[in-house]
């Protein structure tokens, strides 16, 4: 038993010794390896790339600071200058956009979202009948399906942003109409898109249970019939 333990210990120390040997060989990289020349163009490219992605990735200051409505403080001075001067410098923005290196890292920043939202839509048909369209509601899906359908959540997160992405609403409405259309004699004519939302309870005022979701119809879309008929391959007139 003792012998085997000793053997094991010896084995371990041998492994560690080899590991030390290996890491020692790393830190003392051979002069031949480090001395290999790199083209000055490569050095210039790497320097430009590093500067570009750093400038491009730095956060923007808050909107009031950027619009000179509020006096900047602390790092705001630098970030405002970076946003207005460096980030706007065309070689940098062009490089990032054209090559695909554009990036912005704001995961749950500056503060995480505090509104939980999902959506559905009511589709009204030519004869006045109505049907509900259920957009993927990730909370209700089994775990494998959540994994597959995360893009739908992301897309609706954008659609739900009234201030920036309202121009996505028409194609959202048209796509719902297309999905819900199955009879050329009774096509969808109107789509009412509803967001269901709750404000996450404040961390210092926790209710016994979550409040119910509040529905709010934020967009009424009159279906583009010519587009619908064309995409469905239908012909105008009674079928």
């Amino acid at each position: 038993m003792a012998k085997s333990a000793k053997k094991k210990k010896t084995g371990n120390s041998s492994v560690k010794a080899e590991a030390h040997k290996a890491s020692a060989s790393i830190s003392s990289t051979t002069p031949a390896a480090t001395a290999k020349k790199v083209s000055p163009f490569v050095v210039a490219f790497v320097a430009f790339h590093v500067i570009s992605i750093t400038i491009y990735s730095l956060p923007n200051p808050s909107k009031p600071v950027l619009l000179d409505q509020v006096q900047p403080s602390g790092s705001d001075y630098f970030l405002k200058y970076n946003t207005k001067v460096f980030k706007a410098w065309l070689p940098i923005s062009t490089y990032c956009y054209v090559t695909g290196f554009w990036q912005f890292w704001d995961m749950f920043a500056p503060d995480p979202a505090q509104v939980d939202t999902w959506c559905d839509a009511q589709v009204t048909y030519f004869d006045g009948s109505k049907k509900m369209f259920q957009y993927p509601h990730i909370k209700e899906l089994p775990i494998p399906e959540k994994f597959l359908k995360e893009r739908y959540r992301k897309y609706f997160e954008r659609v739900n942003d009234d201030s920036q992405f309202f121009y996505l609403w028409t194609s959202f409405g048209q796509a719902i109409a297309y999905k819900m259309a199955d009879d050329p004699n009774n096509p969808p004519v109107q789509v009412d898109i509803t967001r269901h939302f709750i404000y996450v309870p404040r961390h210092n005022v926790v209710p016994d249970k979550d409040p119910p979701y509040t529905p709010y119809t934020f967009f009424r879309y009159r279906v583009d019939q010519s587009k619908l008929y064309s995409l469905k391959g239908w012909k105008y007139g009674l079928h």
Binding site: A22, T99, A109, D116, K154, Y167, V200, H203, N204
Partner: protein, 318 residues
């Protein structure tokens, strides 16, 4: 002067391609899985019948970058499917992208397949920006890095066939490491800038930030013990996240702390992966961590692992 020289040596020295090869194999595999996941719903995201028809996608990101302030000169973005609305063509494009991701993962015709992959990913992201999350950005930038790096020099079928045919030595020759350094730097930038952005948020400073994502039910995945979502654990996790992300953007370059900082990063992403539905993001970020290690270190680690668990002798002992 010495510090400039050592900085230059760090960025531009030559070394083992094992790290960049392993990175390519894993990142290529994750990219392949990512695009397989989207495939069943492709019609929703690229066809004229879906949520993002070509005209709509074009408005999300402006297609051109104005070189002159007056807009007189435009440089187009890389977008090989710009203006294409025929779904059959887009399906072929998508198939090419998926095959290129698989070939990049396997290291088959690596240079060509990784360039095709990068072109396709950038084009697809330009077209479909409205559905992208952070993991997609990681995939895009890493696909470009893989295309410019000698990423097929190790862990690849290209090399396997070359060694078998006697066209390549058994130990892969050294390669220039600057592409690997760029990946590591970009990884640090992700954490550094997100920490800075969070510093503007009152909830992060007050220690209450992680209270909220845990209650956004659209992100729900596996249940976690309730004490983790209540104070004082919320404060521990909020400030722990800030500290970990800051360390991943700064202290990770300090070699004695590297493994501890990266270990904390793996723990943080592991918890997010378990509790929140943000597909592949944790795996993608952690894959970037490997680029902080030299190829020789990865090889030594692998040899130690084999010696310990597979009863194989270390190379020098054999």
């Amino acid at each position: 002067m010495d510090s400039i020289r050592s900085l230059y040596n760090y960025w531009f020295k030559w070394g083992s391609p094992v790290t960049i090869g392993a990175f390519r194999a894993i990142m290529g595999g994750l990219t392949f899985i990512n695009f397989l996941v989207i495939w069943p719903f492709l019609s929703d995201w690229v066809s004229e019948k879906g949520y993002l028809p070509s005209w709509q996608a074009a408005t999300f990101l402006s297609k051109d970058v104005a070189l002159n302030a007056d807009g007189s000169v435009h440089i187009p973005r890389i977008d090989i499917i710009y203006g294409i609305s025929d779904y059959r063509v887009l399906q072929v494009f998508y198939l090419v992208m998926v095959i290129a991701a698989l070939m990049t993962c396997l290291g088959l015709f690596t240079r060509a397949s990784s360039i095709v992959l990068a072109l396709c990913v950038v084009s697809f992201h330009t077209r479909d920006s409205a559905i992208l999350h952070g993991g997609d950005t990681v995939i895009r930038i890493c696909s470009i890095y893989m295309a410019i790096a000698p990423s097929g020099a190790a862990f690849s079928l290209d090399r396997y066939f070359a060694v078998r045919a006697g066209r390549a030595p058994l130990i892969p020759p050294d390669v220039s490491l600057w592409p690997q350094r760029l990946i590591a730097y970009n990884c640090a930038i992700v954490y550094f800038t997100t920490t800075w952005a969070k510093w503007f948020g009152g909830l992060w400073k007050s220690g209450a930030a992680t209270w909220y994502p845990a209650r956004l039910h659209e992100f729900d995945r596996f249940p976690v013990p309730s004490f983790l979502n209540h104070f004082p654990m919320v404060k521990v996790m909020t400030w722990g996240t800030l500290l970990t992300e800051f360390a991943l953007g700064t202290l990770v370059w300090f070699k004695p702390l590297r493994k501890w900082v990266l270990g904390a990063g793996i723990l943080m992403h592991g918890y997010i992966e378990y509790s929140m539905n943000i597909p592949l993001f944790a795996y993608l970020m952690v894959t970037m961590y490997i680029t902080y290690y030299e190829g020789e270190e990865v090889t030594a680690w692998w040899d130690r692992l084999r010696a310990r668990y597979m009863k194989k002798p270390l190379p020098d002992a054999a």
